[in-house]
């Protein structure tokens, strides 16, 4: 298990760097509209489909993330993991990691899902009048597998936490990237 954590962290770092590179390339293209769209080839999630204002409101409602200086020390790791764990947000081609409690993370995901549903419903109305679109579902066996898969991957979470320095570095790097994006939006 201990050998897995560095790989995961490197992966996140690589992704953040790639996102930055793509973002700069888009900006050099000269079109601010293209820079706001999701990076080509990168998957978008429920959160990414929300507008930036709505996402800020969602996160604010869930409570501000604690500052990086509160990164847990090794002796407190088990307790810290229970109280607050890293939550990774993929948003518009950027990656941000917040230390939030489990309850707050659930609240964020719930609001994101509701916002996405509301948006989908609105779109449906626009196209076919007052007609709600039924959700696409998976076969039951695939649903069960994906649910178990999530459980297994989530349970790996605590073991992914490496040294405090690594965690701090990753958090600050990705947070900066997220903040930079926010500032840019404010400026425009």
């Amino acid at each position: 298990m201990s050998t897995r954590a560095p790989v995961e962290l490197d992966f996140l770092g690589l992704r953040a760097a790639a996102a930055d590179a793509d973002d700069r390339h888009a900006k050099s293209g000269g079109s601010s509209a293209s820079s706001s769209s999701s990076i080509r080839g990168m998957e978008t999630s429920a959160i990414a489909r929300i507008g930036p204002h709505l996402l800020r409101r969602v996160i604010a409602a869930a409570g501000p993330p604690p500052p990086p200086s509160t990164a847990p020390v090794p002796e407190e790791m088990p307790g810290a993991a229970a109280a607050a764990a890293p939550m990774t947000l993929f948003y518009n081609g950027s990656v941000a990691v917040f230390d939030v409690s489990h309850d707050k993370a659930e609240a964020i995901m719930r609001m994101a899902t509701e916002a996405t549903k509301a948006k989908g419903l609105a779109r449906g109305n626009a196209i076919v009048g007052n007609f709600a679109k039924e959700p696409l579902t998976r076969t039951k066996s695939l649903q069960r597998f994906l649910s178990k898969r999530k459980e297994r991957l989530t349970s790996l979470g605590p073991y992914q936490v490496g040294g405090p320095a690594a965690v701090g570095a990753t958090t600050s790097t990705t947070t900066k990237s997220f903040l930079a994006k926010e500032e840019e939006h404010t400026a425009s």
Partner: protein, 595 residues
């Protein structure tokens, strides 16, 4: 000849023919006619042929369990050896039909198990089967039963399986895939291992049943003929002895890698020498090399339940040039499908399921689009079955499938609603080209989004439906007119499922009346009329119409898994039936019929 007096000469010739072919010869000839449609046609020639067909018919499929009465089946086909029954609408597989909807096996087993003296194979799909039903079946046919297939059934427990294991010693096939079975202990498998020595196929895949590896080993020891085992999850390292014993095994699925990253535990796993069908659960990057030694021999690979990345898929598939069947999630990506197209020249069946939508889990990346589908169409020209969930699609890709995959008999495409932009909509011309070129197509499913297919495209589907017997269409068409034009062209369509379309009740009714071969239609998502009575425009003799109103949020039906049905929109089911109206409707299903 109605009304005409037959010429004496013609009458003589007819009589001569009748006398010339004895019943015994006709028995033999009929016995070699196996296509059910040919049988049906032969049975209509005259009363004599009807009777001889009835006596020689060995297998019957009842496509919908409410379409006929069990007693009538028994009277007509008294020497049946094999019977298949289908129950709930297909939507039940997706959690759209509550479990107490019906499709009970009891009336069929009660009526048929004892009198059908030749019956040795029974296949039930999406039905409600109780322990008592299985007990009745075992009491009547236990000594004769060779095949028992319960496919996606619910309602029974391992108590019933113990009874089967103890009493059905001639059983060669026990198929329980994706059934919901109440687990009351693993004794059933031990009983099966002890009492059976002729088992060839055992399948309890995706059932969550717990079994003891020692019982599997005992089974392999006693059943030298065991060729196929698909089981629920069991740590692969506990199956080493089983694999050593099961020398004849060719088909295996269900072993799981429980210890991620602990490869040393699985290094000792050695698969049987003839294994060529494989599906392993939770296999990840580190566990993948387990199958490299025999990847060249693999004909079927099921990667739907793995932890593989796109890159992993590329690596594995590049080593499997002899695949005939491949099942994956869309994590395979377009790159993986390019490897499939380059490598798997013999591929017949390809299924690309929808994976997780949450990119936060690192393993899930990529998606399938026109790039991957085109690569597969160009590279795998023997394909007969394609089912794909895609994130993006173009007319060109569908045209490529039409151009290169001439053997296609089953094509299913779902356009996921996740991506905002789709490259090339509507898909009218692509669908038209595919249907015109794939003349062997029997089943066709197209589930898009609003704007994905115009009325013209819908008209093309009808016009070029050819011999297609089953269709599922979602989010297609723009107006009632499109549906009518579609229906006019569908001369051979027997079963139709429509979802999330904008058609009115009146248009649905008129469409039903336009399709001469239609015997079953299921609809969810349509434009309801004020009274809901426009559906009665499709009323006719022997045609049942059942309406399920949208359910209030507080009145959610629970499935046996404990999850609520995922949506609560109204459903309409209408079908031909010789059995009359259902007598076992739950309260929330409303039969519609003229006053």
């Amino acid at each position: 000849m109605g009304g005409e007096v037959p010429e004496p000469r013609r009458l003589n010739r007819a009589l001569s023919f009748d006398d010339w072919v004895p019943d015994e010869a006709l028995h033999l000839v009929m016995g070699h006619v196996e296509d059910p449609r040919d049988r049906e046609a032969a049975s209509r020639v005259c009363r004599r042929w009807h009777r001889i067909d009835a006596l020689t018919r060995k297998h019957v499929t009842v496509a919908f369990c409410y379409a006929a009465r069990p007693a009538r089946l028994r009277e007509r086909f008294p020497r049946l050896e094999s019977l298949s029954l289908k129950g709930k609408p297909r939507a039940a597989m997706y959690g759209l039909i509550p479990d107490d909807w019906g499709a009970y096996a009891a009336p069929w087993i009660d009526e048929l198990a004892a009198p059908l003296e030749c019956l040795k194979a029974l296949h039930l799909r999406r039905m409600t089967v109780t322990d008592a039903d299985i007990a009745a079946l075992v009491r009547a046919r236990g000594h004769m039963l060779q095949e028992l297939k319960l496919d996606k059934c619910i309602g029974f427990s391992t108590d019933a399986l113990r009874l089967v294991a103890r009493s059905c010693r001639s059983l060669r096939t026990l198929f329980l895939e994706e059934c919901h079975i109440t687990d009351k202990g693993g004794e059933w498998l031990h009983e099966l291992a002890v009492n059976n020595s002729v088992l060839v196929t055992l399948n309890f895949y995706m059932t969550e049943l717990k079994v003891a590896p020692a019982d599997l080993e005992l089974l392999a020891k006693n059943c030298k003929s065991l060729i196929s085992l698909k089981m629920s999850e069991c740590d692969l390292s506990d199956l080493i002895s089983f694999f050593q014993t099961a020398n004849a095994l060719q088909d295996f699925a269900g072993g799981a890698f429980y210890e991620v990253g602990e490869l040393t535990k699985y290094e000792k796993v050695k698969f049987p020498p003839r294994l060529c069908f494989l599906g392993l659960t939770y296999m990840g990057t580190n566990e993948m090399p387990v199958i490299f030694p025999f990847s060249m021999k693999l004909k079927k690979l099921d990667l739907q339940y793995t932890f593989l990345t796109t890159e992993d898929h590329c690596q594995i598939i590049a080593k499997c040039p002899n695949l005939l069947i491949l099942e994956v999630r869309n994590v395979i990506g377009d790159r993986g499908l390019e490897v499939v197209g380059d490598t798997c020249k013999k591929l017949r069946r390809l299924r690309i399921e929808r994976g997780d939508d949450d990119p936060g889990l690192q393993e899930e990346q990529g998606g399938v689009s026109q790039l991957g589908l085109t690569a597969v169409a160009v590279g795998c020209r023997e394909l007969e079955y394609i089912a794909a969930y895609v994130s993006d699609i173009t007319n060109g890709a569908l045209e490529s499938i039409g151009t290169f995959c001439k053997n296609l008999y089953d094509f299913r495409l779902v356009l996921l609603d996740r991506e905002r932009q789709v490259t090339d909509l509507p898909l009218d011309n692509g669908v038209c080209a595919l249907l015109r070129n794939c003349t062997k197509l029997r089943r066709f499913a197209l589930y898009l989004r609003p704007g994905g297919l115009s009325d013209d495209g819908l008209s093309y589907i009808g016009q070029y439906s050819g011999n297609i017997q089953y269709m599922l269409l979602g989010n297609v068409g723009e107006s009632d007119h499109g549906l009518i034009r579609f229906a006019v062209g569908c001369t051979n369509l027997q079963k139709l499922e429509l979802r999330s379309c904008c058609f009115s009740e009146r248009a649905l009714s008129l469409a039903v009346l336009q399709m001469p071969s239609l015997r079953y239609i299921w609809v969810q998502g349509y434009r309801a009329s004020q009274t809901g009575l426009d559906l009665l425009l499709m009323a006719r003799p022997f045609w049942n119409i059942e309406f399920t109103p949208p359910s209030p949020e507080s009145f959610n039906h629970m499935t046996e898994d404990g999850e609520p049905c995922v949506d609560s929109h109204a459903q309409v089911l209408a079908y031909y039936s010789l059995a009359g109206r259902r007598s076992d409707c739950p309260q929330w299903v409303i039969p519609l019929h003229p006053a």
